[in-house]
């Protein structure tokens, strides 16, 4: 290792999480050190706290009604716009994945799947309703129909690996139907989520629709479990974390879903589709008499 100073010292980026449409450090001013795959110091990541999580839920709750009221066509275009933003910066994302240990080929493949998956869900935004809702032939003179509605604020706990594809695969179906999100990024490889925040910010997605946190699962999962305004949880966790989420979620009758089966095959086409959208909508049935 050379002891000589380089002729030009690169300007490194201070990682900030994307929360409520702004880039912030943790309110606690706590950070944790992240090293790259070679073990060299990379950056100090925000170590988000329960208070940050509550702030994020507040931002998501505020953004919720506006996002849910956007037309499905508009949500579709915004998801497509996000894919455009990611495609344009895919080189940077691949480099960051490689720096944190992904093989070049896997990182490149992961990037293309990320973009294609967003487009897949962009296409779903104005179609799932016709497949999940229905007009129901009741045996009385009533017009009776069932439509979907977003659940509200959904808490997401992303897998450690693949850090970016896992996170995006979980966020996309949830926001496609008008939910808003508070997501905890991979604890081991949080940096791609920092980059994703920058792309979210330039994708026409209203501030607060997606809020990203970095930090430690053990500190944040208990609050994800008990926060009353999180109406649903979507988590790539196992074992005791599942129990914690279910126990805490019982108090507010949360909808709790875990990533399993085909959906854990992150790179495959079978990981995406209508089912993931269906799991984060409520069904509402309306009756009205026919005739007078």
């Amino acid at each position: 290792m050379s002891t000589r100073a380089p002729s030009r010292l690169p300007v490194t980026k201070t990682p900030k999480v994307y929360l409520g449409g702004a880039f912030v450090r943790s309110e606690s001013a706590r950070t944790y050190k992240v090293s790259d795959a070679s073990g060299a110091f990379y950056a100090n990541m925000p170590q988000c706290t329960r208070k940050d999580l509550r702030n994020a839920v507040e931002a998501a709750a505020k953004a919720g009604p506006g996002w849910a009221k956007r037309t499905a066509y508009n949500r579709a275009q915004i998801l497509y716009r996000l894919a455009e933003m990611i495609e344009a910066r895919s080189g940077e994302l691949v480099a960051s994945l490689v720096r944190f240990g992904a093989r070049e080929a896997d990182a490149t493949k992961g990037m293309t799947v990320c973009v294609d998956r967003l487009i897949h869900y962009a296409g779903w935004a104005d179609k799932y309703e016709q497949l999940l809702g229905s007009v129901n032939p009741v045996a009385s003179p009533h017009f009776n129909f069932t439509v979907t509605e977003p659940m509200g604020v959904v808490g997401i706990i992303a897998p450690d690996s693949p850090p970016l594809l896992g996170l995006l695969s979980m966020i996309a179906p949830v926001i496609a139907s008008g939910n808003t999100v508070v997501a905890l990024a991979s604890e081991k490889v949080p940096y791609p989520a920092i980059l994703l925040g920058e792309m979210l910010a330039t994708s026409d997605l209203p501030g607060g629709v997606v809020n990203l946190l970095t930090g430690f699962r053990r500190e944040l999962i208990p609050t994800f479990a008990t926060h009353e305004h999180l109406r649903a949880i979507y988590a790539a966790v196992e074992g005791a974390d599942r129990t914690t989420l279910r126990l805490g979620g019982a108090a507010s009758v949360k909808r709790i879903r875990f990533v399993e089966g085909a959906r854990a095959q992150w790179f495959a086409d079978s990981a995406q589709g209508l089912d993931a959208i269906r799991e984060f909508v409520e069904l509402k049935t309306t009756w009205h008499p026919i005739g007078s």
Binding site: V138, R242, R278, T285
Partner: protein, 494 residues
């Protein structure tokens, strides 16, 4: 000298028939064909409980014992799950067409014995015979008939994916619609190829065990459906049994949460249909006479023992006085008494425990400063009865406006604007149902969009149909029952 008050058109003299001439009794007399003692139904047979214990089922209208019911202990629940697990493979492998034919048969056999079942339901639960006759029993048969037709159409249930049965399902149902809730639970589970262990509520086990006779007559393979009777401990054993691939519960939010905690360490799938505190919202342009009928149906149907009951009336200020006056006049005409009488509107409260819950919450309403109105009614001397009750001057923080009373008690609040109505309607942890009364179509659609509830009745209330998905938002539970959407809760990925 003070002038005599001028008669106004708003308060015409009203003829109330029951006040002038007493109604003649009009009892339903069909034979309910009850047994003196009911055993457990396990593996297609009626079997004695292993511990040999029984409990009494009481007629809440007379407080007289109707029959003895077997008390299932853990060993009995275990036997039921063994039977269901043993039956599952063959039942799931049966062509859907054949499974469907069993369900069609059950529907038909229930229709054959409808009158007998209606009387049994009324005797055991206290609901008016006109409701068990015209609603509970025919609707239960309709649920079997509707779901029978789905059994050979599993590939149409979820677009883009093939579904399979879940396995053995544990189900616990409440006492307010004993036979109907049983049909809601059994029919979709069986149609999708699952086997069932079901526990009826301890105060209303009889029609489930009568239905077991029909399952035998229909030739349903042994073990496909098993009934274990008992109280909370039996219910916990059914919900907690390791052989259950899924549990479905209908009951209070409190118990639902306890089950969710009980099963937090497992990957057990769940459906929860829990409590409610529905807002029934009347705008000033609503057809008021129809609205009053809807309000009465919304809260006094089945003595208010309805999870989706319209127990909070929100009425727009401009018409509040008129609506309340009409409502008071209307409930003067409700007939409270013998559930077996065909003229009875409000039957017996289901149990002594429920009657004391209602009394406690009504007392809290009075204590907290709401104004109570009860029409003068003569309640039978024996049995559990409660008069139709209105509370006016209710605020959102009153317990009668927040807690599920599960009785014939209506809390009336007022509002001025559409936004205020939405805000007040949604200001509850529950979200099962809501009602809207207005002549304006666009307002109905806006309200229907903004109300956080799984079922919205517009210019109607308390309507149900097997084709219509039913279930809640928020703390009213999750999962749906009825329609194509309800089937998904009884399937897994193939």
């Amino acid at each position: 000298m003070a002038k005599p008050p001028k008669p106004t058109r708003a308060s015409p003299a009203r003829l109330i028939f029951g006040d002038l001439w007493e109604y003649d009794p009009a009892p339903e007399t069909a034979d309910p064909k009850l047994r003196a003692r009911y055993e457990l139904f396990i593996n297609g047979e009626f079997v004695r409980p292993k511990a040999g214990k029984y409990f009494d089922s009481i007629n809440p209208a007379t407080e007289r014992k109707l029959a003895e019911i077997a008390l299932a202990g853990p060993a009995d629940v275990d036997a039921a799950y063994r039977a269901a697990t043993g039956a599952f493979k063959a039942w799931a492998a049966l062509p859907g067409r054949e499974r469907g034919k069993y369900l069609f048969r059950i529907a038909r056999l229930l229709q054959d014995r409808a009158r007998e079942f209606a009387v049994a339901e009324t005797l055991d639960g206290g609901k008016p015979i006109k409701e068990s006759r015209d609603f509970d029993v025919p609707m239960a048969a309709a649920h079997f008939f509707y779901h029978a037709g789905w059994a050979d159409k599993l590939e149409y249930v979820a677009p883009g994916r093939t579904v399979a049965p879940v396995g053995v399902v544990g189900q616990v149902i409440p006492w307010n619609f004993p036979l109907l809730m049983l049909a809601w639970k059994l029919a979709p589970a069986l149609a999708m190829g699952n086997c069932v262990v079901l526990k009826p509520a301890e105060t209303t086990s009889i029609t489930a065990l009568k239905l077991a006779e029909i399952l035998q007559d229909a030739g349903l393979p042994p073990g496909v459906v098993n009934f274990v009777t008992g109280a909370a401990a039996t219910g916990a054993a059914v919900m907690g049994h390791p052989a259950a691939a899924k549990v479905a519960f209908t009951g209070s939010t409190e118990v639902g949460k306890a089950i969710m905690r009980q099963l937090a360490g497992t990957d057990r799938r769940m459906t929860m249909e829990l409590g409610g505190k529905a807002a029934n919202i009347v705008f000033d342009d609503a057809p008021l006479d129809q609205a009053v009928e809807g309000i009465v149906n919304g809260i006094f149907f089945n003595q208010g023992h309805v999870c989706c009951a319209g127990s909070r009336l929100l009425v727009q200020e401009g018409v509040a006085e008129r609506v309340i006056a009409k409502l008071k006049a209307r409930i003067r005409m409700l007939r409270v008494g013998d559930p077996l009488d065909k003229n009875t509107d409000l039957g017996a409260i289901n149990s002594k425990a429920q009657l004391s819950t209602i009394r406690r919450l009504v007392a809290a309403g009075v204590r907290e400063g709401a104004t109570i109105y009860q029409p003068p009614v003569k309640l039978p001397e024996k049995g559990y009865y409660y008069p139709p009750t209105l509370f006016t001057h209710v605020t959102q923080s009153h317990r009668v406006a927040r807690e599920e009373i599960f009785g014939p008690v209506l809390a009336i609040l007022t509002f001025r604007t559409v936004d205020e109505a939405i805000e007040k309607a949604n200001n509850t942890a529950y979200g099962l149902s809501a009602g809207v009364w207005t002549d304006k179509g666009s307002r109905i659609l806006r309200m229907s969009t903004e109300l956080k509830a799984g079922v919205v009745w517009a210019n109607t209330f308390n309507r149900f149909d097997p084709a219509s998905p039913f279930g809640g938002y928020k703390e009213s539970g999750f999962g749906r029952e009825g329609g194509r959407q309800g089937l998904l809760d009884y399937t897994s990925h193939a």
